[in-house]
């Protein structure tokens, strides 16, 4: 049964959050338990434009510790990445640290690439968060297509 459920591999809907003549951004939740809300405020036109990413989700497990990982790929090549501990046992950086199953979390992060690449093609952004037990708290697979 479990295997069957796995092999069906249903997907959450694909979300389009930016759609200009310079940039299209789509994302899909890669977490099996829930879809996730993501905004770019504002939609960037270049990779180096600063933008606030807002991510909202409901916790399925506690986050005494919470580690985020962001990776950017250009045509499959890893061009940028950052691993950020957001909640450490000795250093809870945000008030949501220590939240538990069932609580809702809204997290905002200013992102800005230092790399100014020739902006054509499809960038892939993988955002991923795990807790102290390695349990996946949120997972987002985004595509940034620059025209």
């Amino acid at each position: 049964q479990m295997d069957r459920a796995h092999s069906q591999d249903p997907q959450w809907p694909l979300h389009t959050i930016c759609n200009s003549n310079k940039l299209t951004v789509t994302y899909r939740s890669c977490d099996p338990l829930q879809d996730v809300g993501v905004s770019f405020l504002p939609c960037p036109n270049k990779l180096t434009d600063p933008t606030t990413v807002r991510i909202a989700f409901i916790l399925r497990q506690s986050i005494t510790e919470f580690y985020s990982s962001i990776k950017l790929f250009l045509n499959g090549l890893h061009v940028w990445g950052v691993d950020e501990p957001l909640c450490l046992p000795q250093f809870p950086r945000f008030t949501f640290c220590g939240s538990r199953r069932g609580e809702m979390i809204t997290f905002e992060m200013l992102i800005k690439s230092k790399v100014d690449l020739p902006l054509k093609g499809d960038f892939n952004l993988m955002v991923h968060g795990i807790n102290q037990d390695g349990f996946q708290i949120a997972c987002v697979n985004a595509t940034l297509s620059f025209w």
Binding site: H6, P32, R60, F94, G102, Q136
Partner: protein, 619 residues
């Protein structure tokens, strides 16, 4: 990588120890499959808009009930009247409008009640009559505006009251009288924007922990501390969070600490306006001081007031040199951490030499830079040191016996720090108590067969990310000196194969991680025993597996072959057949695919002529 315990959809509740997990199933009632005798019921993320006394009626043995996020709006009377043993009740994330006054009658001693993010507007909305034995009341993220109603409760068994992230803006002495005869209670007001705390409001309270972190957006810290005068608390958190506005603490404000008895104090993310020798002089008696990211570039030269400090945390600050911690002022220190320093951290000689009692020193993620050959001059005087973390440091030279002054070391972490060593020397030969050694990503040269000489007690060795010259591990002497080794990590070392005798002497080995290498063959004959060995060969280049190599894996043994290009044809038939019969011995089975397809090998369907001429189906 999906957690194996959480498939995409579920049709049935899952049995867990003493109970059932029915989380996340859109259920609108307790399913018949749950036996009357269930003690633990996880029923979160279902749909129960109203709880009646019939809702859980037949579950008379319940001890723990989780109905987190079940859209509960109304809790009517006597909901748990048939559950005398209920101790834990989680009502997190329900949009509660109404709780009947006898909602919690029934349980003889409810101990843990969570009403987190449940829209509670005032404490008096929680019927307190049947909560006399409550130990934990969690009200984080509600809409509570004041402490009115605290006195309705009987708190004699209270251990923890969490009022984080509410809208409480004032505290008076009278508000807190319900706690005046208790001891050992933890109270958290984290993230409330206080405006007024009556001076002496906490006078003569005796708490285990008090959390006022993130509470200074609308009140200055000196008003807060005046409110705390006369308190005795083991732990006091006055830190901030990254989303808080900056706070600048004047030394004068800290004079209130002369009337506050505290052991463990947290100031994370604060700014000190006029840090000087006497800033902390009222903190005499403090055991632990956490100054994580307190925007410091030095501690004062002759600090008074911290002479009994045993733990000092200086992470995420901007020191230029370890010496700027001026630790001569803290002679009782057993734990010192300057991790994540925001500048490259010079480690000059002998600046910790007064810390004869220091047991743990953490200088990780600080690009720690000894400049001179390491580490005997730098660690001079730390004869009691048991843990040293120099990971993510700057490249450095090691003297021939770099840890000669710290012979009692038990844990050494040098991960991601590149060192240069005299050829063929044995840098750890004096560390006869060392149990954990992390040399991952440290450019360690594994052709030096004398490297681990002397590590008689070593149990865990991490060598991840140190590329092997020639890609074949042939130094059979290498692990002869570490006979007690239990865990060995050799992942990402560009290994294609290893000598049969390399690991043979490791009789205690129970974890070997060879993932992310270049093996084309799963070879197990080189290990002392497969009875309890967990083999990790994930992310190699293995295509076919000789079933004989895994056949001897014992009950506690396992193998991880995820993300290898396994072929799912008849050449692998016997192995795939073994996998289907030994699922529990195959780790990350859900990520173990047939090469070139999305099919998991567990789902592979084969039809093969076996050598003996019998047609066999495997499905």
């Amino acid at each position: 990588v999906f957690n194996e315990a959480t498939p995409w959809a579920r049709r049935h509740c899952q049995q867990i120890t003493k109970g059932y997990d029915c989380n996340d199933m859109d259920l609108q009632s307790i399913p018949d499959e749950i036996p009357n005798s269930v003690q633990i019921l996880q029923f979160s993320f279902n749909y129960l808009p109203a709880l009646y006394n019939s809702t859980f009626q037949r579950l008379k043995s319940l001890r723990s009930l989780d109905v987190t996020r079940c859209s509960i709006t109304f809790i009517y009377e006597d909901v748990f009247t048939y559950q005398p043993h209920l101790e834990v009740l989680l009502l997190t994330g329900n949009p509660l409008v109404f709780i009947a006054s006898t909602a919690f009658s029934g349980p003889l001693a409810l101990k843990y009640l969570s009403l987190v993010q449940s829209k509670i507007k005032q404490l008096s909305d929680i019927p307190s009559e049947n909560l006399a034995y409550l130990e934990v009341l969690d009200l984080r993220g509600s809409n509570i505006r004041s402490l009115n109603g605290l006195s309705n409760f009987r708190w004699q068994n209270l251990k923890s009251l969490q009022l984080d992230l509410n809208f409480i803006d004032r505290i008076s002495f009278n508000d807190l009288q319900p706690f005046s005869n208790l001891a050992g209670v933890s109270i958290s007001f984290k993230g409330n924007d206080f405006i007024y705390i009556e001076p002496g409001a906490f006078h003569s309270l005796n708490l285990s922990s008090l959390d006022f972190s993130g509470c200074l957006n609308k009140m200055n810290i000196s008003s807060l501390l005046k409110g705390l005068e006369g308190i005795k608390t083991n732990r006091l958190n006055l830190g901030l969070y990254e989303t808080d506005s900056n706070v600048y603490i004047a030394s004068a404000a800290l004079q209130s600490f002369c009337n506050i008895f505290v052991s463990d104090l947290d100031f994370q993310l604060q700014h000190f306006l006029d840090l000087n020798n006497s800033t902390f002089h009222c903190l005499e008696g403090l055991k632990k001081l956490d100054l994580t990211r307190a925007h410091l570039n030095a501690l004062p030269l002759n600090t008074t007031g911290l002479s009994t400090l045993s733990h000092l945390i200086l992470d995420e600050n901007q020191f230029k040199d370890v010496c700027q911690s001026n630790t001569r002022n803290f002679p009782m220190l057993t734990h010192l951490s300057i991790s994540g320093n925001l500048k490259k951290l010079t480690f000059s000689n002998r600046c910790l030499d007064s810390l004869g009692l220091l047991e743990e020193l953490d200088l990780s993620v600080s690009l720690v830079n000894p400049r001179e050959p390491c580490c005997n001059n730098q660690l001079f005087g730390l004869g009691e040191l048991k843990l040293l973390n120099l990971s993510y440091g700057s490249p450095m030279f090691w003297s021939s016996k770099p840890f000669n002054v710290t012979p009692k070391l038990e844990h050494l972490d040098f991960s991601h720090s590149v060192y240069t060593l005299l050829n063929d020397s044995s840098p750890f030969s004096n560390l006869q108590s060392l149990r954990t050694l992390n040399l991952s990503w440290s450019n360690t040269d594994l052709t030096n067969v004398h490297l681990f000489v002397g590590l008689k007690a070593l149990q865990h060795l991490n060598l991840r990310g140190n590329a092997i010259q020639g890609e074949v591990l042939t130094q059979t002497e290498l692990f002869k000196c570490v006979p007690l080794l239990e865990t060995l990590v050799l992942s990402a070392c560009k290994i294609t194969s290893f000598d049969e005798n390399l690991f043979k002497g490791l009789r205690h080995l129970n974890h070997i991680d060879l993932s992310e290498n270049k093996f084309v063959k799963l070879s197990t004959s080189g290990f002392y025993s497969l009875d309890f060995l967990k083999l990790n060969f994930a992310r190699n280049d293995i295509t076919t597996v000789d079933v004989a190599s895994v056949a001897d894996l014992g009950e506690e043994g396992s193998v991880d072959l995820s993300y290898n290009p396994l072929v799912c044809n008849c050449s692998n038939f016997e192995f795939i057949h073994w996998v289907k019969k030994n699922k529990v011995k195959v780790k990350h089975l859900m990520e173990t695919f047939c090469n070139g397809t999305g099919t998991r090998i567990i789902d592979a369907k084969l039809q093969c002529d076996l050598p003996v001429g019998v047609l066999v189906f495997c499905a």
